[in-house]
Amino acid sequence: MIDALKSLFGARPAPAEAVQGEKEAPKMTAKKLGLRQRYEHMTRGLDWETTYQKMDDVFPYDSFEGIKIKDWSAWEDPFRLTMDTYWKFQAEKERKLYAVIDSFAQNNGQTNLSDARYANVLKLFLTGVSPLEYQAHRGFAFAGRHLRGAGPRVASQMQSLDELRHLQTQVHTISHYNKFFDGIGEFPHMHDRVWYLSVPKSFFDDARSAGPFEYMIAIGFAFEYLLTNLLFVPFMSGAAYNGDMSTVTFGFSAQSDESRHMTLGIEVIKFLLEQHPDNLPIVQKWVDKWFWRGFRVLGLVAMMMDYMLPKKVMSWKEAWDIYFVEAGGSLFEDLARYGLKIPKYADVATEAAEHISHQNWAIFYQYTHAAAFHTWAPDKEHLDWLSAKYPNTFDKYYRPRWELWAEQEKEGKRFYNNALPQLCQTCQIPMGYTEPGDASTICFRETQFKGDTYHFCSDGCKDIFDGEPEKYVQAWLPVQQIFQGNCGGPTVPDVLAWYNMNVGADNMDYVGSPDEKIWKEWHPDADAARKAV
């Protein structure tokens, strides 16, 4: 099939300009064009210097950030992927994926999950992550339009299409679960309104309201290159291990695109740093900012891996060591030749990797009445796993808390936090994180700006605000919005109604939920079997 396509390409008539003799006609006697030549032909000469309008008017956004580009043609996509090949590969990936989705539905794959608790991972993914794919689609369409080099424009166009495909395949895959489980059907509405979903949403709003170069560093480099492995690889292995064949397939199908995105991300950063020495401090600031922003968003994944997967793949700490400490270490050693340093507060993030999942899941456990997925306290076996995976922190700080809460549950006094939490102005997460090196003290930072006080969960988030206060004072913070009367009313039921939350089905603990009920109908012998083991 590939040969057929190549011969088709080779047999195309010479371009008109070559026929007219303006340039030397390519030698059509050559059997095939090599990969490099094909890439040259399909990505260069597609752009032109405008004459009716000034180039700066046509591309108004690629100068205000201060990035200096001397030679756009120095851009090279190492994959050398051309649009024709792109369509062919993507079509093949789609065919494979949709065959699996059909098969999964036809075979009632949802009944073969490790446990119905697993479905909560999908709810969090669909409400929190899938809409970001759509934001990325729009963001790369914008970057592709507004960067004036042809190479990055072609790459951005492909990535924009990839991101749209990711949203679609995720919605299609998870829609099957929507037939059986709660908390799924209102995902776009919830993404725009529900308190914890403002964390991923504001991350992308921040990136998309930046200039095109910052967007490319934010999403292309910091998110796709540095952090995407931490999102998708453990997530998809988790799906595989928990019997979710359809999610594994969309995940790995998306991930093959991610490899291309990672390559684009690293190309962007090298290109900017090679173009002009003045770019270095600007890029360094963006790398610092977007590393920290991404690290905070990925706390949701940390919690998913350590607490939400019924069958565990690896701990968040282990994933962090492989994909950030080891892989990121190699990368920054490489980028050091341009003078780029490892992101500021990377050491703080690595220390926090032993705490963040425990602190996040504790937040959701306390606010389970306001979350669109189910929570649960870890059972003894799970606590033992966490103790083994987190020998430095779990027994000392977190296990006693879970044991106390389990005790309270047993006495019929399950703990709910009914106060609205203070939020960090930058990452928008409730202020539940602790001081670096002191997990018994909550970390608070603050800044004064134009007579108001703004609060932060960390030095990283405070620095980001201080770098662009005019931007972050505009943050749509869910708690403040509730108090200002913009979220349906003053009481919790008012707000949940405004979220379109199906109270008693979407929220609260897994035990006693309709999800648990349907799971037990599918597996009437499950409890007996577990006891027998």
């Binding site: 590939i2 040969d3 090599g34 990969l35 490099r36 190492p78 994959f79 050398r80 992927l81 090949t85 590969f89 093949e92 990936k93 995407t228 492995n229 998708f232 690889v233 998809m236 292995s237 988790g238 595989a240 291990y241 594994v248 790995f252 991930q255 093959s256 991610e258 490899s259 291309r260 990672m262 390559t263 690293i266 793949v313 080891e326 892989a327 270490g329 190699s330 990368l331 050693e333 490489d334 030749r337």
Partner: protein, 90 residues
């Protein structure tokens, strides 16, 4: 410390000849098995040779076809008609 060049591929029939070619052509490669995927790590450089894959696959194969089974990678990519190389060399 050596910088690690790494590739993660699907664990399926399409990827197996590529995985085998990597293991044959990159002495010292370290293999990590995940559910559904395989991560292969080398110090500094990892190469996939077109000829090695074709030999195992029994048909012609272009390095770009790796897109269909690729999950993740680390290192600077150099791809051409006869190889797909990840490395930290310059």
């Amino acid at each position: 410390m050596a910088q690690i060049a790494s590739i993660t591929l699907l664990q399926n029939d399409d990827a197996r000849p590529i995985i085998d070619a990597i293991m044959a052509d990159n002495p010292g490669v370290r293999v990590m098995h995940f559910n559904g995927a395989v991560k292969l790590d080398c110090d500094n450089t990892l190469t996939i040779n077109r000829a090695s894959v074709e030999e195992r696959l029994g048909r012609s194969w272009e390095p770009q076809e790796i897109q269909l089974v690729l999950v993740s990678m680390a290192g600077n990519l150099d791809e051409d008609d006869d190889h797909f190389t990840l490395s930290w060399r310059h």
